[in-house]
Symmetry: D2
Subunit: 421 residues, 4 copies
């Protein structure tokens, strides 16, 4: 298919990008995207920073064959922090049916975002990607009381939703590394013991976040148990390094199974395949917790006496388990409706200042979907494809670590809790 030929007579918008435009590679992405979506551009102004600490400002005239394409280009440029130069109020359209957006709704990034309503810019309260933006008004005086993202499944008829890209501005988080922040993947990393260094840097980051009053979110897959990391994770929970845990039925089930049966037979260490099929211990573990009524009840009744879930319950920490179509059981605490599960995850994000995803693609991607883009996100897995997929998505702050999950968790626990797990 031939891409639409850009037309110089089509609609045109001025777009501006400010920051470390050149050395961050952003500019290349911006130009690629303009053309990939069928638009064209002209560099109107380029104020280049003299040295590496100066910011640059680029102004582009973007054109497209039709208004819809142009809108699409401008929305995409938002994902890179580029905004329209013209200041006009956002166009608001009233939703006609529950669960359906207007056809030209603004699709969100996960970056800090402002919307112009009337003469003022309103911050979007909970940046989340792939949502719409609703403007909530006081019914008495029509004053804007809240501007926030809403997923398509939750939008209700009568709501005002932002349409088109006009009147929406996004802000890139400050460049990593400028402020002594989270930079372990950058090229200045020394090569002396890199994995050990990564462990230390993640530990430092967690310490900083906790010192600043932030909460640490862990997203865990069942390989955490299969690789023997459960004791290390439980130690991290007990020592206060896990404020919230997201996962599925499998991680909680295998953790409970190991607690109840003392062993996770059939684990194939060489291939890392996890528990062999046909092993019904996990079913009995699920059944026992169902009989108790919940994980908390199972802990209270002494059915579950160790492990990650035991530690979370004992320490009064929050966890959100969301089911999948491949689950057995599931455990009574698992959300079987995935939309309700997503809502529970969103509700648990308050004050989260750091997120670490270990050995799970499914729940890792789900977390990336709802996590604001400015929260640092680290993905740890032995499979490079999983790390790449998670790091590529969503957060500008995402970092990947390809390593052994069992040895990694043990090393991190040793670093943070000072004890051998």
């Amino acid at each position: 298919m031939t891409p639409p030929s850009p037309s110089s007579t089509g609609p045109r918008e001025l777009v501006e990008l400010t920051g470390h435009v050149l050395d961050s590679g952003l500019f290349t992405l911006v130009l690629d995207d303009v053309r990939a979506l069928g638009g064209d551009y002209e560099v109107v102004r380029f104020d280049v920073g003299k040295d590496k600490d100066d910011t640059s400002t680029v102004r582009l005239a973007v054109t497209a064959p039709d208004a819809r394409t142009l809108d699409s280009v401008v929305m995409r440029l938002h994902t890179h922090g580029a905004n329209l130069v013209e200041v006009e109020p956002a166009r608001l359209t009233v939703v006609e049916r529950d669960g359906v957006f207007p056809v030209d709704f603004y699709a969100t990034t996960n970056l800090p975002t402002h919307v112009r309503v009337g003469e003022a810019w309103y911050p979007v309260e909970n940046p989340e990607m792939d949502c719409g933006i609703v403007v909530v008004r006081d019914p008495r005086d029509g004053q804007v009381t809240s501007v926030r993202t809403v997923p398509v499944s939750d939008v209700v008829a009568g709501t005002q939703v932002v349409c088109g890209a006009v009147g929406v501005r996004v802000t890139l988080p400050p460049t990593r590394g400028d402020d002594g922040g989270f930079t372990f993947m950058q090229s200045e990393v020394s090569s002396e013991k890199p994995q050990a260094l990564v462990v230390q840097q993640i530990a430092d980051q967690m310490r900083e976040v906790r010192a600043a009053g932030g909460r640490v979110l862990w997203v865990l897959g069942p390989a955490v148990v299969h690789t023997g990391a459960a004791p290390a994770m439980a130690a991290l929970v007990r020592d206060g390094w896990v404020d919230v845990m997201f996962g599925g039925n499998a991680i909680a089930t295998h953790d409970v199974e190991q607690s109840m049966y003392g062993t996770s037979l059939g684990v194939d260490l060489s291939a890392g395949r996890g528990v062999e099929h046909g092993h019904e211990h996990h079913l009995r573990a699920i059944n026992a917790v169902r009989a108790a009524g919940s994980l908390a009840a199972a802990v209270e009744q002494g059915v579950v006496r160790s492990g990650i879930m035991h530690a979370l319950v004992s320490q009064g920490k929050q966890f959100v388990l969301v089911g999948s179509v491949r689950d057995d059981g599931p455990l009574p605490d698992v959300h079987t409706d995935v939309l309700q599960g997503q809502r529970a995850m969103r509700a648990a994000l308050t004050d989260v200042g750091f997120c670490i995803v270990v050995a799970t693609m499914l729940h890792g991607v789900a977390t990336g979907n709802v996590l604001p883009g400015h929260i640092p996100l680290v993905c740890v897995d032995i499979n490079p494809a999983t790390v790449t997929k998670l790091s590529d998505r969503g957060s500008a702050q995402a970092r990947g670590v390809v390593t052994d999950v069992g040895l990694f968790c043990a090393a991190l626990a040793r670093e943070l809790t000072g004890a051998e797990a």
Copy 2:
């Protein structure tokens, strides 16, 4: 941890295994499992087949330190087709609470299974693994009217459930290859064009199944669309080679997106990463189908005019879409409750005689969970880990093919429909 030391004074059961015991590798698995679970064995009788077409019969005395362990060993041996020699009726226990099995419930395999109630053996109607077995009686006379599997989430108080391994027998499907059946992975495969040969053998198997009145089930992941296989798949649907389709929100969404926007921009062919983040076309596609009300309505209204879902709707074929926690939207046809999704999948298995899983780990495993073990299952993926994981689970008939999904579907469509897709 030291495995429990086997005791010669503990409980003991006689177990028998008949068939191509030696050359199929089963015997090794049986002995490994006895010891892995803490039991011990003595070979009591070994009637070895003289040559490769004779069956052998092995009788083992299995011991364990306690009755519970012995039960666990015997249940595990069921997964290999080994049964207790003694004929006694199954022990039935009444379920006390909805969604909770008795503590020593029999955990099913997916093999053809019979249960002895009173003096008779009853076939289990719908073999499915990791379930319990309920015995349903006529309330008037107590006669057994049905013996069937039930997942723990669906069991209701008052039901009789089989407990322990006594009175349960499983049957191995006839060995593949003895009957000219499905053998493409066996060593007699010629090396001339192996992948082309695999395509041809799968096509032959589908023809046989269809000729015998069986239905073909396809389980599809989004990479089917990303690798350009959608036209080939649509041709297979139109030509009658797809009776049922299982999938998630992603495959249907990206298929519709491609139909609506004519292109799936941003696909990175080299890395096979699929659609880049930030591309909001998929959200607009979802929104459009939500506005139409369903995929069928979207096809009828001309919103969706091509692709796999269009072909399925147009041909009146069945599809079951089950959501996951990472979904955007989702499409209105997607089951957001995973237990309801599993039930819909089970209900669609009637007369399925062949199952092919393409490019999906999540829905492939979910299908393997509910599929009876005697139905041939082929898993196709470019990632060997996915193929191994799917082939290892569940079905004794599972086969894996590591290949390019796009080229594979095109070759299979060429073979079956006689046309270039």
Copy 3:
């Protein structure tokens, strides 16, 4: 380790980069590298192209704490096509010992390169990366007769070698895609049947190269045989699409084995592991060719009657086989000395205009090492890691295709030769 702190009082050079600096991502790489190597920069001039067809020119003042670091930075920038602004003659140093360069020798890129000697710029005859540059003079009058690359193992005492980065200029090949060239990985690719499209584009590229009098080089690994692609490859050879073939002992051995024994028993299609260990057919095949004296003799004597090597010999095509430490045998045609093997590969590159690497990491990397950077290079493998590694190295023209080798070769042969292989 702390990177050396850049000093504004240290040595300083002006460097210039011209071309599609912004949209090609080059500028980001340049700035990253300056800092990674311990230098610093200031943007002195930035003439930005108004629209996407204009070139931009950037001039940087690069500083470093010492002259050696600055030299190292400037050499690195050469790999991105950035050159010193000042025009001074190259510094030449006489080699003192065979096989050892002067300590500050200029390490080459594989880009087109010129060296200034006296008042003139001389083109480097055979750009190859990780070499030195020797200046050859007529012994009678001292006139420069040749400027060419030499690997460290081949340099001889008394030769003049370029040292430092002064007086060396590199030229980036014209941006792909500007001239309707080789662009299949670019974002304008339609999503309709991407793998089929890739096959067609590679075929087109080969047709163009052949039409222009260029030769096509294939680098083959043993999986070509294991996946059943040998007949397709032989057809391509017979139809004139293979001018030179590079490989190791394994590809030739397994090809001959298949020809001699009619079958390659033990190939495990599911895991793609190739021929099982313990299968001694390959040893007998090697022994038979050793008895004949060479592959050509074995073909002549009728020992080898089919396959890729048979086709190459029959058509009089060139092949270079270089051994490795894991080889059995090897075949008599295999270079057991790797330096001699590298020299033989270099000698076979004349007029090569296209290179395709199929299913081999080792010989693929070796080929990338000696291939000039302007020759298009395609890497085909089912393993994404191999494709990434090969594509990342060396050639600015490298492209990767992750696909099934067997189906890919069959499809390419069908496209180019018009016949089913």
Copy 4:
């Protein structure tokens, strides 16, 4: 292709297999191989062990359509430890040309092997797979002085070589685990901290081997340096846990580069890709060692002051570096002729009692080729495919560990040397 139909009237041999035939899975392999090679079998006798500690004896009558096929079957069965029942002397043929075996030469396994010459059984001195067996006699009296393996490249005219499978017996090493030996991959492994347990078990095995006077062989790939494991490896060398090291040009070069330049810039931790191309530090490191004359000289002259090679030289440990076609340089210590390299590796195997391969496919396979089958071999890599390939080949004692190389080496060094590396 149809496999040759077995004929009951063809040649026939009695073969016997003794040991833990049933529970080790061997019997299945034996029967599979008979049929895969075109033979057929009848079970003539089966003395089955009563319980798991008894050995079983199986006697098979093996038939084949012709003598050559039967020979091929019997040779293959040797790889599983099955021998001919009849005791006849081996058939010896005189080699006619250097480097060429007689056509029906016996191809070796790497198991302990005996050859019958006249009335006596002679042990083969250096079991190595994929070789021939030569019988050396005293020229004065024709007495057998030595029976040993020889690779085809090294056989000389006039030598007597064993042909056919008659008169050759192989012995399986005692089953692992029966004697408290090396069993970490077996199913009795506890799930508590499995990777930590693996580290401990490898350490224990090394301690045992060293206590028994055996030497420890390490085979290292360049990722050992890239993952930061060089200090841990150097500590292991200094503490006496590395007696011999095999590797290529890359591991030694990057180790020296890191020692000389203090940093290995450009290492991409997230993707584990190792050093970026274009970085010429490795070339300067190579050049510096070439200038010194050898690694030992470079250490002596203070050019190389730290790292793995420095530790090996300083401690007077043996190392064999063998080149490959992709090498730059190479270092002066590298064997550029791969046959000479193989010979140097063989010569260094004396008294090796344990072999560990870390992060190298090429040199790992090469080592597996020359290592006797009874020497325990552990393969460590983050890539499961590499581990599988190495573990599948050669040694019946091979074990695979999929883990992070950097964290693994650090943990092993901590376990063995008692210090943080």
